[in-house]
């Protein structure tokens, strides 16, 4: 292995590719070669660096300096000043002087600990930081029951939104006798404002694979699929590479490490439907059908894909598993609160200074997440509300900003943690307008199977459109609540049960906006 004086990590994600990261790297390498530095300075392509400075972002080690929004034109200055003369270019550095100190908080990361640190396309780098040790431990030292118990002990809850205990889910499938069982990873991330799973897969695909392997061993599944949306091109490419490498290293395939356990992993690509995030709809889609949800029970854990017992888990959930198996449930419980253990990955959007991605302990107050991790509001904007959990989420006003972000605390406000999307609105933005957009989304995505959701979404849409135009009355507003409530009580799946959350929280916390607009 070669030794370098410095490493430049470049975050490669959809966002930085958009800003021209590929050409940038070519130019940077060329410029370094000009000064004959190519053997001293290593340029590494890695996953997202964990915050969203705009454009192309670099971190330089060992100095640990982060640059943001670097353009091709800046390369000569950067190379000459920093890498030749050792004088960091202040003008391009991420501002660490003002109120905002970026807390990249690597010490508190589980899922994202390698993201932005290792090359996600190289299995050896993952192994180099202790990757696949959990898989080895599970395979050689643990019985399937031990794995299920360890995950149960850890208190890990599903990170896709509902928060069902993962170990309990596995314990339904593990003891069943069946000729074939499946593990399916739900990577059909469609909740508006959510892209944490994309970043987890882009930044550290092997960690997800390792989680899948352990899950498959625990429940006795010999086939595992990743159901991913077609738009996530970079993820698909990286996962394909990762799977090929895992086969090559004998981590999956036939009779793994002589244990007698077989496992095959494959990728399945979706075709664009929000409802396929619902686990039974996802299974329908995998079988080549319309993505209409199925009646539960039987739950997929008992009768899922091709009627075989199937465990469906979210990407983030499985990405937590290697840590738990390697370090033990106790180590995992050290994160978060006693009821809700571990960490959670959020995507923070809207009018904050540093929109982006952060992983923090469960139970961290929303105010801390917005102020400390996202740098507070953008200059000149005042906070009005945060839509937490995507379209199927709730509006949180300023007076509730101190709410702790975990499943149990949010429940008290009839709110949900959901997928981890936090959309911050400024004081000029209209709640009615955003609610209209949310309802339009549900109306479009309703699969049409049950009339409560199909007709309910249409009725809600007509009412909110009327209200938005200023032609509605307070009776219309009340009617919306009644309809959404009825949908909650009678819809077939979680999609139809969702509109009540944004509708009710908008009315409860911003009722005056509705009063005002209906008076006109």
């Amino acid at each position: 292995m070669k030794f370098y004086r410095s490493h430049i990590l470049i975050g490669i994600s959809e966002a930085s590719l958009l800003a021209g990261a590929e050409d940038f790297i070519k130019e940077l390498r060329k410029e370094l070669a000009k000064y004959d530095l190519q053997d001293e300075i290593n340029v590494l392509e890695t996953g997202p660096l964990g915050f969203f400075g705009k454009g192309i972002c670099l971190t330089v080690y060992p100095e640990n300096i982060t640059y943001q929004d670097v353009k091709i034109e800046d390369i000569p200055e950067l190379v000459e000043e920093h890498f030749l003369k050792g004088r960091p270019v202040k003008r391009l550095m991420l501002d660490t002087t003002g109120k905002y100190k970026p807390r990249l908080n690597y010490e508190n990361r589980i899922v994202l600990r390698n993201s932005g640190v290792i090359d996600p396309e190289n299995i050896e780098e993952y192994i180099g930081v202790g990757g696949y040790e959990a898989w080895e431990k599970a395979l050689t030292q643990m019985k399937p029951e031990d794995i299920v118990n360890e995950v149960k002990e850890s208190g890990l809850q599903g990170r896709g939104g509902a928060g069902f205990p993962t170990g309990v889910k596995w314990s339904f499938t593990a003891p069943l006798k069946a000729p074939q069982k499946y593990v399916v990873v739900n990577a059909d991330e469609g909740e508006p404002g959510t892209f944490k799973d994309r970043l987890i897969m882009e930044g550290d695909p092997h960690q997800l694979l390792e989680g899948m392997m352990i899950c498959a061993l625990a429940v006795g599944a010999t086939k595992a699929y990743i159901y991913i949306r077609g738009e996530y091109k970079l993820c698909i490419e990286r996962l394909r590479k990762a799977i090929a490498q895992a086969y090559e290293y004998g981590l999956i395939g036939k009779n793994i490490f002589g244990s007698g356990f077989d496992l095959d992993i494959d990728i399945k690509i979706g075709a664009g439907a929000y409802v396929c995030g619902e686990e039974t709809a996802l299974i329908e889609s995998l079988e080549g059908n319309r993505g209409n949800p199925r009646w539960k029970p039987p739950f997929p854990g008992v009768e899922g894909l091709w009627k075989a017992p199937t465990v469906v888990n979210n990407v983030e959930t499985l990405a937590n598993v290697p840590f738990i198996i390697k370090n033990g449930a106790e180590a995992f419980r050290a994160y978060g609160t006693p009821q809700c253990t571990g960490t959670k990955v959020y995507t923070i959007l809207g009018d904050v200074a540093y929109p982006g991605l952060c992983e923090v302990d469960m139970g961290t107050p929303l105010r801390t997440i917005i102020n400390d991790y996202a740098g507070g509001m953008k200059k000149g904007f005042r906070f009005k509300a945060a839509l937490v959990g995507g379209a199927a989420g709730v509006f949180i006003p300023e007076r509730l900003l101190d709410v702790n972000m975990d499943f149990a605390s949010l429940n008290q406000y009839a709110a949900v943690l959901g997928s981890g999307a936090i959309l911050v609105m400024n004081e000029h933005q209209s709640i009615v307008d955003l609610l209209w957009s949310i309802i339009r989304f549900f109306r479009h995505e309703s699969c049409g199977k049950c009339s409560a959701c199909r007709n309910g979404c249409q009725q809600l849409y007509e009412l909110i459109t009327k209200i938005k135009k200023g032609e509605g009355t307070m009776e219309d507003v009340d009617l919306m609540l009644t309809i959404a409530d009825t949908m909650y009580a009678t819809s077939f799946c979680a999609l139809g049960q969702s509109p009540i959350m944004p509708v009710r929280s908008a009315l409860e916390n911003f009722g005056d906006e509705f009063q005002e607009i209906t008076k006109r």
């Binding site: 959809e14 991330e189 994309r198 319309r290 993505g291 809207g350 955003l434």
Partner: protein, 152 residues
């Protein structure tokens, strides 16, 4: 031609979605014509009504001919709040079409879609396989120009 695409996949129902993707991607007008549905139906031994059910369920498929370049603008809340409506208006003016329509020269089809998962750069659109973010009315004009020139 459709037969050849089908034969790349095992004749099992769970391959339907991939076969349809493949047919659409290879069709110069990016859609799935009736003849193709017939061929797929025979190959997989499933009725055409099932195939149409699937085709019309997923937003990525089209049963109508489309342009050379497909623009999919996100209209979900995070993009909406960042001004996707203005971007849409601009796109309609530049292209001279409404949502769901194709330009006369067959160069562009304008579509709306749900969240593309690139919300950090809202508002966002995809043209074919490429993502464009942080859209403004000016930027959209440049992008369309660039794609147009690239196609000539």
């Amino acid at each position: 031609m459709y037969k050849e695409i089908c034969e790349k996949y095992a004749p099992e129902k769970d391959n339907l979605i991939y076969i349809l993707h493949d047919i659409q991607d290879n069709h110069p007008q990016h859609y799935i014509p009736e003849e193709a549905v017939q061929v797929v139906s025979e190959y997989l031994n499933i009725p055409t009504n099932h195939i149409y059910g699937v085709l019309t369920f997923y937003t990525m498929y089209s049963t109508k001919p489309r342009g050379k370049n497909i623009i999919r603008l996100c209209e979900s809340p995070p993009c909406y709040i960042k001004g996707s409506t203005n971007v849409l208006r601009k796109l309609k003016t530049i292209l001279g079409v409404n949502t769901g329509e194709t330009t006369k020269d067959g160069m562009f089809t304008l579509e709306l879609c749900s969240c593309l998962g690139v919300c950090g750069n809202a508002p966002v659109m995809m043209i074919n396989e490429d993502v464009y973010g942080d859209l403004t009315e000016e930027k959209v004009e440049e992008i369309i120009d660039k794609v147009r020139r690239g196609n000539q």
